[in-house]
Amino acid sequence: MPGPEHKRAAFEAEALPHLDTVYRVALRLAGDESLAEDIAQEAMLKAYRSWHQYRPGTNVRAWLLTIVRNTFINQYRKAGRRGTQVDVHEIEPYTVFQEVQDVDPEGSLFDRIVDDEVLEAIDEIPDEFRETLVLSDMEGLTYAEIAEVTGVPVGTVKSRLFRARQALQRRLYDYAVEMGYITRRDG
């Protein structure tokens, strides 16, 4: 049976390189840096304790993110997070495009928005939509990987991602109008 040095070396080689991903996802789930560090550390320790359950050659990143998500939901969800503000259920498809197509068909209005404002807007999306967008657009997981991490069918991942992207786009468009980066079309 391999000793602790062997286990730690394998964990450090395969799991630890994903610490940035683990932290970024924890941060967007919790909405707070200090909580995110606690979640990330707790999740990495849990992963280390159950390293024997990880099958080498399978998707270590999805496995780690599942642990991050469960850690957040079971231990931290109550502690963090303010109320959500964006209603994703009233989202109509491609409305921002329809409003800006004549003046800004390639969406360069978004280029003027700073990263912090983008992240803040992401934090206003309801949990299940935010986590889907974060796993997809921030971390580049496939729909199948997101379905594995979040425990829902691929069809649900697709509809959540659609709504999340459109809701965020609407939120940042409103912000760009507010800041005077673009003029809202009349009517």
């Binding site: 602790p4 964990f11 940035d20 990330a40 320790l45 495009f97 390639e106 280029d111 657009d137």
Partner: protein, 88 residues
């Protein structure tokens, strides 16, 4: 011609647009969307806009790294765990 290869209309093309942008369609379905966009300027414009939007999200959200103090904490907790579980 299989069902996946048939021509699609605007509604179907737009419904599959994010799947197409994300590279999640089968080659035949992706080809059907691509063919539609080639011949439909309004849908192509939506596609250009939404592709830029998805790229924007990727670029703007990935820059952040875990703080060095967290890496240190994690490594220390692994060592501590090894010590705690080591037999006498």
């Amino acid at each position: 011609m299989t069902d996946e290869q048939r021509d699609i209309d605007c509604q179907e093309a737009l419904e599959r647009l994010y799947d197409y942008i994300d590279g999640e369609l089968t080659p035949a379905r992706a080809e059907a969307v691509r063919r539609h966009l080639e011949h439909c300027e309004p849908c192509l414009k939506v596609s250009t806009f939404e592709s830029a939007w998805v790229r924007f999200l990727e670029v703007r959200t990935r820059a952040r790294h875990a703080p060095p103090s967290l890496r240190k904490r994690v490594l220390e907790s692994l060592l501590f765990e090894d010590d705690a579980t080591a037999g006498p």
